[in-house]
Amino acid sequence: MPGKRNVLKKGKGEIMKFSNLGKETPILDGLEKVTGRARYVPDLKMEGMLYGKVLRSPYPHARLVNIDTTKAARVPGVKDIITGKDVSQHRFGPMVPDWVILPDDKVRFHGDEVAAVAASSEEAAAEAVALIEVEYEELPAVYDPELALEEGAPLLYEEKDNNIAATFNVHSGDVDEALAGSDIIFEETYKTNQVYQAYMEPMAAVAVPGDYERLIMWLSTQIPSMSRLRYAEALQMCAEDLRIIKPHVGGGFGAKFEYKSHILAAVLTRRTGLPVRMVNNREEDFRAGNPRVPMKIWVKLGLSRDGTFLAKDTRIIAGNGARTVYAPAITSTACYRIDSLYKFKNVRSTGYTVYTNTIPTSCFRGFGNAQMHFAMESALDTICHQYDMDPIKLRQHNGVTPGFTSIHGWEIKSCALEECLDKAAQESNWYEKKKAPKQKGPVKKGIGVAICNHVSGNRPFFKPFDGSSALVRLTPEGKAIVFTGEADIGQGMNTAFALIAAEAVGLNVKNVRTAAVDTDISPFGLGSFATRGSTIGGRAVYEAAVNLKKQLLEHISRVYEKETDQITINNGNIYFDDQEKPVPVAEAMQTISYTLGGTSLVGQGVFVPDTVLPDENKYGNVSPAYPFGCHIAEVEVDTETGRTRLLNYWAAHDVGRVINRQTLEGQVEGGVIMGAGWALGEDMVINDGVLLNPNFHDYCLPTAMDIPEGHIYSYFLESEDPNGPFGAKGIGEPSLNPVPAAIANAVFDAVGVRVKTLPITPEKILEGLESG
């Protein structure tokens, strides 16, 4: 029978064959998105809904002397105005309790929340905000994390002795001894800048009064369940009384975690008894979003003459901004995650996350690992150049391999890093291009390589646990609905979950969908971060689907009087070994359901990864699966104008297993483009604490014209991870991690200029060319 056997377990010599996986499946909600029918939080309108607006500080650091809302309150349509005097002053926060709902003492960055208004129209809200009279007393401010560390620097939190929000330390092996015994010692400093995630949908919330005195919040968020816990804390209510719904989300890239104006919308709703919508305009989103943590990174490496890595010593000063979102975790990631990309024997790292009077910083695709990749992979390129080593071979010589346990106890189960390097080198013609003579004329070509690792889930991120659970419900119509708490924010995870469930049960993905996250219905899910969704969330969905299939087989066996081992389910059909004609699942389900009081079948699945919280020296396996990749960039640099253009890009990734080729390619191309934007021009220009380019005109994201269409090539290596669903590992962040370094290395190859501070601007290249 064609297509009958659906082999799931890979035995000796047996090839995995899938009816749903590995294909180009357009995202299941794609049509409603491209036709504009998909509803996002800013599209929501409720009966009696008010429009919320925040008054933001025009000073980077100032004492709030007096706030007068009399005039503002007179604006027709204004229903409520809140300031620090109207709200509880208890402190809370995602990592450090340095948040209050609204401050009553001082503001700490240009854009900090001072007051909030709810009015019956956006215009009225804006007018009222403009009429709030605030008396500020300006305070000395500090913007550079390094200066903020100096003795006598202005303090952001006066009750603290200094501006350090967090310190991270790790030392494994003996770095000093290893450096003493190294033939090659390399030392350099790199800087990564502050960049904006530039998701299409700005930060948004709609808060609605619910029955039973509950509060419903529609959020554009990547962490519905976690933000529920935090907001309950902020609002001093029981988490169960807070219902979070996450509809379609227009991107997040790390920014959409806990957010102040979500809480302000909730406060205004509770006070007015009316729904309140709070949506950032683009300028606010720039001024008070959660941009990337800027870092200054000192790197010292010790190698033996044959290129073996002996020691790595790093020190990082990272900008936290004016309050703590997730920068400390990001700094620690920068300090030590890359240690498990290579077979290091001695590593030491110190990271300071430092308060400054600037926009609070947080997660951005790569989570600190991207910053450190720029430093490390640039450093290796310089070492190769200085000591005449091949950048591909050096990485293959030191890179981790399957079965390796890293210096921090990370268990590398699946790993196709070596193959990724070979694949990218081969496809890009690396060895020939490296040997080729340089072009005559002002425009030179160059090629550069960088590799990466990442995690698929990060145990220490949420202290209580990592893992996921899911439900798959098969309806009497034979359709399946996946319920997960993991948040698809546009990456295509919901489609991946549907594909996994379809494959595991034997359905056609057309008949499977993933429900929007609603904390009243969906299981608790940690959310979208640490490249964990498809791996950890997907594995829970897989387990739920397997559980569902077991139940389904038992019911089929009962109804059709066959042994379960005579039954095969594939692509929505049930095949019996002794019968030519299959029975559609829909038909069987109707019989099953109608003989059992109309029941649906519900499979429940849980995945608890075998990971641990690292010990005091950061030892312990943090992730169930580690993805790897190798990127090669080819650029041309105009030596007269300093301009760099991307010509070709080869990205080979170890993804464990291809679930959906189309979204995988989308993630790789998106990561490469985002990384190229960061590398070649994106920059939040801050002068005396004020962001000078809070718009898409002056904040130069790459346009379609800047990307070589059809010249980003992605390759997927399937290392079949034992923990991932069907072997799959994550892709979201690794697709970006190596990009800035690959491009910087290509620029160096083209014109011999080493840019150590992102972004790689024409000015820096011209300066480098001039200084020889």
Partner: protein, 295 residues
């Protein structure tokens, strides 16, 4: 943003009548791509808008007695697609092609670009290089002004869009010894204002070697679109070679006075304008192959 009146006249006569009738209380709007953005930050004081985008006479491109006429409401896309402009006003077609994005080019007009008077407005730079005339109609009066003379300062021109209607621009059709070219460097390939732009018109001697005459218009190198007259003078009569081009590059870098801003330092822009001039002349005369670094 609300207005009391939004007029859509279909002849220039109607436009002028409306201007007269409203006595400075009505403002012309063409594509609105400058006006609407400005209105958001600095609300317009007028209560009425007069949309000139539906006046056929203002949307014409034609040749007449050795002059090319471009209607003020001609869009950038129209310029890009016009065979006449491609053939006889290459610098203008290329300038229009570099404006914003397809959406902006489809609605933004050459008239709006010039009247808005930004120091690096792309088609304004091209028109200055072409030594174009601006044809202005006001109630009861008609004027023709050399385009370079209408710019008063950043965003300021002598055209008052509550009183004056620019109807067209015109320039003489080039003969076989004239060439034009447009060079532009920006932070990205689309939707970016230029770091520098340069419009070039030149005329060769009959021998086909020496430069008889040249006009170089550049932005944003001064408070208004700028004619680099010193550099022009130094090039007149010159027989072009690498050495001369290099010198001309230095000369123009010395001559211009761009501003420092976070978008680009003055020193950087000075350097780029030198490269732009050198490349512009090379390309205009086909001395070197076209480089994909510029548009």
């Amino acid at each position: 943003m609300t207005w009391e009146n939004y007029f859509m006249p279909s002849t220039t006569g109607e436009v002028l009548a409306l201007l007269e009738q409203h006595q400075g209380q009505a403002r012309l709007v063409a594509g609105g791509t400058d006006l609407m953005v400005q209105h958001r930050w600095d609300p317009l004081e007028v209560k009425s808008l007069i949309d000139i985008g539906r006046v056929p006479a203002l949307k014409e491109i034609r040749e007449d007695h050795g002059r090319i006429y471009v209607g003020a409401a001609v869009t950038h896309s129209q310029l890009v697609d016009s065979a006449l402009i491609q053939g006889k006003g290459r610098v203008l077609a290329e300038a229009a092609r570099s404006v914003g994005s397809p959406q902006v080019r489809n609605v933004g007009t050459v008239g709006g670009n010039v009247v808005n008077a930004q120091p690096a407005a792309d088609t304004a730079i091209a028109l200055v290089a072409l030594d174009a005339l601006v044809h202005v109609s006001s109630p009861g009066k008609e004027r023709e002004i050399p385009v370079a003379e209408i710019f008063l300062g950043p965003g300021k021109s002598s055209i008052d869009p509550a009183k004056d209607l620019v109807t067209a621009f015109s320039f003489s059709a080039p003969d076989s010894r004239e060439r034009t070219y447009f060079v532009r460097f920006a932070r990205r390939e689309a939707l970016a204002l230029p770091l520098v732009n340069l419009g070039l018109w030149l005329q060769l001697e009959e021998d086909g070697h020496a430069l008889k005459d040249i006009r170089i218009a550049v932005g944003p190198m001064a408070v208004v679109p700028y004619r680099a007259r010193k550099t022009e003078a130094s090039l007149k009569g010159a027989v072009l070679n690498e050495e001369i081009l290099k010198k001309a590059g230095h000369s123009i870098s010395e001559e211009v006075t761009p501003r420092d801003s976070f978008r680009g330092s003055a020193a950087f822009k000075k350097r780029l304008i030198g490269v732009a001039l050198k490349r512009g002349i090379e390309r205009a005369l086909d001395l070197k192959g076209v480089d994909r670094h510029e548009r």
